[in-house]
Subunit: 188 residues, 2 copies
Amino acid sequence: MTKAGYHHGDLRRTIVSAAVEAIGESGLDGWSLRELARRAGVSHAAPAYHFGDKAGVLTAIAADGFGLLADALEEAQPDFLAAGVAYVGFAVGHPVHFSVMFQPALYRPDDETLRAAETRAAEVLRKGSNAVPGAAARPGDATLAAWSIAHGFASLWISGALRMPPDADPVEAARPVLRLLVGDHGSQ
Amino acid sequence: MTKAGYHHGDLRRTIVSAAVEAIGESGLDGWSLRELARRAGVSHAAPAYHFGDKAGVLTAIAADGFGLLADALEEAQPDFLAAGVAYVGFAVGHPVHFSVMFQPALYRPDDETLRAAETRAAEVLRKGSNAVPGAAARPGDATLAAWSIAHGFASLWISGALRMPPDADPVEAARPVLRLLVGDHGSQ
DNA sequence: CAGCCAACTTGCCAATGACAAGATATCGCA
DNA sequence: TGCGATATCTTGTCATTGGCAAGTTGGCTG
């Protein structure tokens, strides 16, 4: 609900973008509110007005992230394998959002905007998880397995633990891996 | 190679323990070198002598973590499902180590001690991964899948994203989930 | 045009990370 | 035993930061 056209225009969004960029460059604790203010050309306390503190900025990033993730997953429906691949694609494409999202200690998990996006993303996962072999017997486990393998692959890729060649395509690398769990059922 | 019996005795280990504890209480950026120094009863600059900076402390934590992980995995050999369960058990039992380990931006990935432990842990994964169905065709993918599902489950559990009841046992919850990938082959 | 309020700014303080220089205890060695 | 070398720790310092309080600006409304 940011009203555009004030002193700066849309400082809120500017700050979030700058934060994502800064974190991408210098890591999760290589940024400061004051640096964001400088980048945006405002005074050192301006960010605090919109976000309160650092956790506020990270809350906004996480909320954006869950929104983007939900979008990506919904677009891949109803092909569940494609949804898994999309999960990895989102994570690798937005590593800062992804990293923040799954460290709730960094932000305010009870934020309203955030929880809405979070719920939306979780729904897509639950809906499509019956494509996993053996899902009928224990549907909860199938959801967990699918979520886990996509999340794990994405996390490991981002962290660099997989030591892939720099030009490797994470999305194409993920597909055969996810297929080992989901099988060749493909859609539905 | 810390020689014990100096002024403090074993400040290096004391600081690492205090850091793990502090991070566990207040999160990854809720601690300071000065706080660790106070807890250990030394001057504010003492930690810097042993670790240089914050990244140095986190490097030590990550190295310890990879060592502990390698121990846990080796103990579970040759049952690959058990190794997966052990992976989750380590992560949930040492969430601070686990979180740090897979955020290389926080520490110095080229540290010697660290790389040794890291390599040892990676070896165990590679060795046992042929228990995954379809592993013969694409052994690399089977390793990735197994690592991903265990890593993903652990990460999601620690982050709280799974919204499990507080008394739930992560290790027992993981077993049927991992079995969906590994199958009932059990050992070797 | 008068007042109101959102959107900033200015000023401030304790805490921190990092560095430099000094102090001290232990150890090797004559 | 004594002495110097060295690892370990302390003291002092400085720029930077997060966060708070209080002031200011500029558009909007009635």
